[in-house]
Amino acid sequence: MGASPVRSPWKDDRMPAIEVNRLTKKYGEFLALKDVTFSVEEGEVYGLIGPNGAGKTTTLRVLATLLEVTSGDVKIYGKDLVKQADDVRKIISYLPEDAGAYKNMKGIEYLNFIADFFVEGQKKKEMIQRGLDVANLGERIGDRIDTYSKGMARRLLVARALMIQPKLAILDELTSGLDVLNAQEIRRVVKTAARQGTTVLLSSHNMLEVELMCDRIALINDGHIVASGSPQDLKSKYNAANIEEVFVEVVK
């Protein structure tokens, strides 16, 4: 059962960055997403929360043009996800959970490699500089990626995802496996990007993280959205102290 598109009243004047209408995704006979419907406004931070296997990553992978759509419509900034996939890829940035970088490259070489797909000349220099600022790896940016700690590698990948100033950043389990300090730093970077106009769609197991970062959230379970709204609205509606309690209440 899909939730109807929800729009925050104070953002009605903005164009929808993401419009997902009755998205269904099958893996063979297995129905991974069932009539998923939601929309995200431009500049909004929208979170998908749910347990393992609920369909969060499948939703993000479909929106990132990685998986085929079984049925339903998806538009990213007005562009049809299926028919205009090449155009969609120009305005999105996807950061998979446990993403890796080419280990034989140095950090700076990796940023260069990615920037080459988007711009050249002075603009490329500016893009890489943004990447260097976000990664904040100091001199280690000149070292091979296989010598990086998990936190350093994740910062490099977040830098890669945000330096291109995508219209939409799709971030899967943004801080998974990171310590508190690294996680906090990365959340700060993403929130800054959102303030500068990037729409963010993220997924997380971490309900606290979602509550801290998201303007609105959708609770997804067993392939469909079971509730959605702003964290405050959901807490009030379900008379819960936090989103974790909301979640337990909703799936009960």
Partner: protein, 431 residues
Amino acid sequence: MRSSLSHIIMKEVKELLTPATLIPIIIFAIIFGSLGTAFGGATNQLSEPPTLGIINQDNSTIGRFVYLDLQANSKVVYNGTDIQAGIQAVTDQNGAALIVITSTFGSNITQNESGVVQIYWIMRGTGILDSFSSATADAVLAQVQKDLSKALIDSHADIDSTTILNPVNATQNTVFKGKEMAGISPTAISAVMSGQNIIVPLIVVMVVIYAGTMVVTSMGSEKENKTLETLLTLPVRRSSIVFGKLAGAAIVGLVFAAIYMIGMGYYMSSLTFSSSIDLAQYGISLNLLDYVLVGISLFLALLFALGLCMILGIFTKNYKAAQTMTLPVTMLALIPMFVLMFTDFNTLPLAAQVFVFAIPFSQPIIAMNSLMFGQVAIVLVGIAYEIVVALVTIFVAVHLFKKDILLTGRVKSAEAKRRGTYSLWTMMKRK
């Protein structure tokens, strides 16, 4: 309780012994088993008398003795007087040689000179097994020579011992693929050709192993290091990713092949000098255009290999799995290598010809051998076939690159079922 060692051994064996590794080896064994049967047929020829044509121009007693002795030890398919007709008859009957006992054969011997016998070898192919029929004819000639020596001794004729011991002076001529080459035996041609027969197949196999492995392992490591998903969401066409990977591997594969060829070239040149026969003087050589055609054929075989490996790479899960994935492709390259090393493509039975021709890796090998004898048509057909299969393979690879299977792999339904079973929602509903 199992010991730690056996526990680890069991785990390793289980990981390595998968259908992907086992099936190609079983297929390979079956193919070679059936080839063994075919070779067995060829070796049976050794125990049968050779098929010969005989022209006896000498009516002396000695000439007639040799004629009758040859006839007794072989299956004669021609005994007229015309050499060209004889060659044709023996060729038509898949015979080994036409033997001409020259008109002065007997008189030469009585004058203490070896009698001249002209042999026109009908060479059917340049493979190792193709020399079997000439080997049996050789054996018969040796027997005839012995019989003649014995008869001369028995006759107490006034002939010196050197002539009695070596009464026959055989001049060797070889007829191969329509060319008549005077003064050279099939064995000498085979010795030189075997160099060519080995070097091209080896290059094909090496290039396939090097370049193919690179493509598959590149896919395996992209999946294992989780870099593929990022790459696929960048503003770059899927076809560009496929062609980029193929071209990268092709360039490195060709560099490896070039290095390998230089080494092999030195090795082969040392062998060629020692054989001291220049086949070019008989018109058996490659010109620049021939080399270009072989190069094109080799390049297309490489493209096919890369396309096939890319498809396998799409199904691979990780780096380790990727390494076993190249096995089927390597096997496919080894089949023509072994088959064409032992037999000439032209002497294979029709079904085997179709089978070997259908493997694109056979084409450069067939091309090299055919162009040596000026047979361009089969090479052009082969190249056209290679273009088609290479394009189809690459098209399939690009198509699969746009499919879920690239990311979800072969285990997708099992994973999906597992995910379905353990979702929180399902668990709660069960409660």
